[in-house]
Amino acid sequence: MKLTLTIWRQKDPGAKGKFVRYPMDNVNPEMSMLECLDVLNESLAERGEEPVAFEHDCREGICGSCGFMISGVAHGPLPATTVCQLTMRHFKDGEELVLEPWRSRSFPFVKDLVVDRRAFDRIIQAGGYVSVSTGNAPDGNAIPVGKEEADRAMDAAACIGCGACVAACPNGSAALFTGAKIAHLGILPQGQPERDRRAVRMVAQMHAEGFGSCTNIGECTGVCPKEIPLEVIARMNHDYLYGAWRERRQVVTTIAPATDWEFGKK
């Protein structure tokens, strides 16, 4: 099949970006969106042009590396599917696809289709864990967890941290991502001791990163490749509200967002 890929090309954050059209004559409907970009990149490299930078690793929809907008939809038209698993047979012969990176002020631009999602790591640093050092654990079966609870925790824990929810949200909110971790740990008995503090700190960090507020539009869950349900946001709000009251005497500190790629300097 034939397709046209219209792709955002921008060398670095300082450079001026533009859309470039690449007609593709020989697209095999079985190939994935990323394999289609591979084919384009091979031909660009052969012509001595610089290939399109895009992020990817597992190509199985689980690492969360890949992701860009396809004609305005994060991860493209197929529900519950990352771009690495999206096969070209879902497009029409002759179609034009517009590829551009996630746009969010909290995901600084890097190159072409690549952005910086370290804000997500910092939200996890702010409390997305159970504080149990190695060696401290009781026997696995000493903490019974009902099957339904375990399943619900797993539903929320399935988030791959891709950032599509932020890119799709008109407010640029990271509530689905943050709520997913707060729900995963908040549902389980292991997560109870730190439940208040976790919610308060993670939400504070989310705001410190500049993500917008959630107004219950629901675009996020619509594009989420793991179909994380909106109820995780309700849960986040619930835990935040109770937590903020109970932790009202605690000082909440946030982590300063990193703005460059110089590491390790203090």
Binding site: V114, F120, Q125, V130, G140, A153, L188
Partner: protein, 637 residues
């Protein structure tokens, strides 16, 4: 070189306790004075960095992805083994140890495997405490399943996403240490060389993948947990970025590389569909619990599967291995699939595929049960192939999946360079010539949570370390050589893309150093790899520059290393005149076509040492001794 694994004397059950007792300890107040480097944030590196941070060391941790959470471990589906014996079905530490040594076809070190089985129990406890949402019974206890041919149910799992959940557990523990200031994380950073000073590993040279800047990092010990080298085959189930660069460059600085030819081919992957194909997708082995594998009895039978009557189907695994049937180990299942396809009985357009059929299981258990057990895998299959596995049997074919070989390490997980420790898939240690399903996750976490925290402390407490500076001559020399390597790649005025070299290399090793190997084929492959490597350095085209995000440059460096490693794999395979586990030399098979080991001559670990550019590598042998599990011909009949 004489290799001493340093295995504690005395009964194997007490070896690890004894070793731990004999180890020197670092005074708690001194820990923060020690700087450690951990390269890799998969299960092995992530768990190591987190635990060392908890203990109070100053840790710098590196990965090439944009976040430590994306390491390739995330993709593991099936599960993790542990000798908990919760189902009360006869499991024990000893049985897990026994199964692993036997499954590895008697090419693993007994003491290491025993420790692995012991630690397996603590891993589950630790992960549960972190909030890993393992599958549960209605009563709230942990659920187990049987996996990869084990006759007991000892596999713990979290849907089809066990690796993801275990990795997120380690990642969260790591981020907690980042928050605490114990670990500094360097994402999008690729280690390109090792710094050895006075014979000890003292640092690394790293390229910042966004700015292209090279930097030197000095430490008291370096821990590599950089994963396996399956991508030497180009098409594999590994993530696209998985590579051998870190361990290969350590090899060139003096670390021995053990058993490079021990690679594992996984029997249940989605077959190749075209030459644009960039990777192969694994279908979890758990499918073999309920799916039946077959091909038509007739050669070239092109009828759709449901029109082939029962009597004209060959359930070849059930026929040849009545007691294990579809659950024979991976190497046996893979080889048999290749054999029936070579006979012309393969299915699908390319003829390189066999059926994995659930119709009988669905009749017996109902479609709902099958959906509950494998729903997400079926969906994934359908998404990729556009076929509905509830209606037509899946088509599967073997693919490269795991590499048992890796840097040689002793019982302390230390390589032949003092101060260089190697964990997870990057080392060679525990799986011998074939790894059992659900054992890699176990090994990575055992190494990272429960072994390295002791052994690195022992090293630090018992070694006198001189002062090394980032600007010192040794470090700067390595930095300069890395700089020159990068510039050299960019300067080649070639025409062929990096991927085209990689694909060609992959085909050579797959054809001649893959599922079955022969001496003439291996010799031929060595010649072709050398020629290809020569062409690479004349004719590769690496676009872009060195001072920004340049994915072609990243790939070029990795492929350059694969072009050298591929040759070493073939040399190792050629040297090992026997068949064992995943290494099947056609010349050495039993009359009924099974792998024929030669314990008299080959009961050793082959460890190769670098001797300079253009020189043949030097082989050292670590003899293997079996005091507990006596080598026998594996039989799954």
């Amino acid at each position: 070189m004489k290799l001493d694994a340093g295995i504690p004397s005395g009964p194997i059950e007490q070896a690890w306790d004894k070793a731990r007792f004999e180890m020197k300890l670092v005074n708690p107040a001194n820990k923060r004075r020690h700087n450690l480097i951990v390269v890799g944030t998969g299960l092995a590196g992530g768990s190591a960095a987190a635990t060392l941070g908890e203990l109070g060391y100053n840790v710098r941790c590196f990965c090439f992805q944009d976040s430590p959470r994306r390491a390739h471990s995330i993709a593991a589906q099936g599960g993790i083994n542990a000798a908990k014996n919760y189902p009360n079905d006869g499991d024990s530490i000893y049985r897990l140890f026994y199964d692993t040594v036997k499954g590895g076809d008697f090419r693993a070190r007994e003491a290491n495997v025993y420790r692995l089985a012991q630690n397996s129990v603590n891993i589950i406890d630790q992960c549960v405490a972190q909030g890993v949402p393992f599958a549960r019974e209605y009563g709230g206890s942990l659920e187990n399943r049987s996996f990869g041919g084990a006759q007991v149910s000892r596999t713990f799992y979290a849907r089809g996403q066990t690796g993801q959940q275990l990795l997120l557990g380690a990642y969260q523990a790591l981020e907690r240490q980042v928050d605490a200031g114990q670990v500094t994380m360097f994402p999008r950073s690729e280690m390109l060389d090792l710094i050895v000073v006075d014979g000890k590993a003292r640092g690394i040279v790293v390229r910042n993948l966004v700015t292209g800047k090279l930097s030197v990092h000095i430490a008291d010990a370096v821990i590599l947990a950089t994963g396996g080298y399956g991508n030497v085959y180009y098409l594999s189930t590994n993530a696209k970025g998985s590579n051998a660069t870190a361990i290969w460059r350590a090899y060139k600085r003096g670390a021995l590389f053990a058993n490079p030819c021990f690679t594992q081919i996984h029997p249940t992957c989605i077959p190749v569909s075209g030459d644009y194909q960039s990777k192969l997708t694994l279908m979890s082995e758990s499918l073999r619990n309920d799916g039946r594998i077959w091909v038509p009895k007739q050669k070239g039978d092109k009828r759709p599967p449901n029109q082939i009557p029962e009597g004209e189907r060959d359930y070849y695994l059930e026929r040849r291995y009545p007691s294990f049937g579809n659950l024979v180990p991976r190497d046996v299942a893979s080889r048999n699939a290749k054999a029936v396809c070579d006979e012309g009985r393969g299915v699908g357009e390319t003829g390189l595929g066999v059926y994995l059929d659930f119709s009988e299981a669905m009749q017996r258990l109902g479609e709902e049960t099958i959906r509950e057990r494998y729903g997400n895998l079926f969906d994934m299959y359908q998404r990729i192939t556009d076929e509905n596995p509830y209606k037509v049997p899946m088509r599967i074919y073997p693919a490269i999946h795991y590499t048992m070989g890796g840097l040689w390490v002793d019982y302390q997980l230390q390589s032949t360079i003092p101060g260089l420790f190697v964990l997870g898939e990057a080392n060679f240690s525990d799986h011998g010539a074939n790894r059992l399903g659900a054992s890699a996750l176990m090994q990575g976490l055992s190494d990272g949570y429960f072994v390295i925290p002791y052994t690195v402390g022992n090293y630090l407490a018992s070694t006198k370390l001189g002062k090394v500076s980032e600007t010192g001559a040794e470090a700067q020399a390595v930095l300069t050589s890395v700089q020159q390597g990068v510039e050299r790649l960019l300067a080649i005025p070639g025409r062929r893309t990096v991927d085209s070299f990689h694909r060609e290399l992959g085909k050579i090793v797959w054809d001649d150093c893959g599922m079955s190997r022969t001496a003439p084929g291996l010799k031929d492959a060595i010649g072709r790899i050398r020629a290809l490597r020569e062409e690479f350095w004349q004719n590769v085209n690496v676009p872009g520059s060195s001072n920004d995000l340049n994915q072609s440059l990243e790939k070029a460096g990795r492929v350059a290393d694969f072009l050298e490693l591929g040759e070493l794999m073939c040399m190792d395979a050629l040297e090992r005149n026997e068949s064992c586990g995943g290494h099947f030399r056609e010349e050495y098979q039993t009359p009924d076509g099974e792998a024929q080991r030669d314990d008299e001559h080959f009961s050793y670990v082959a460890a190769w040492g670098y001797t300079g550019p253009g020189n043949p590598p030097e082989l050292s042998r670590e003899p293997l001794e079996f005091h507990y599990v006596h080598p026998s011909q594996r039989s799954y009949k």
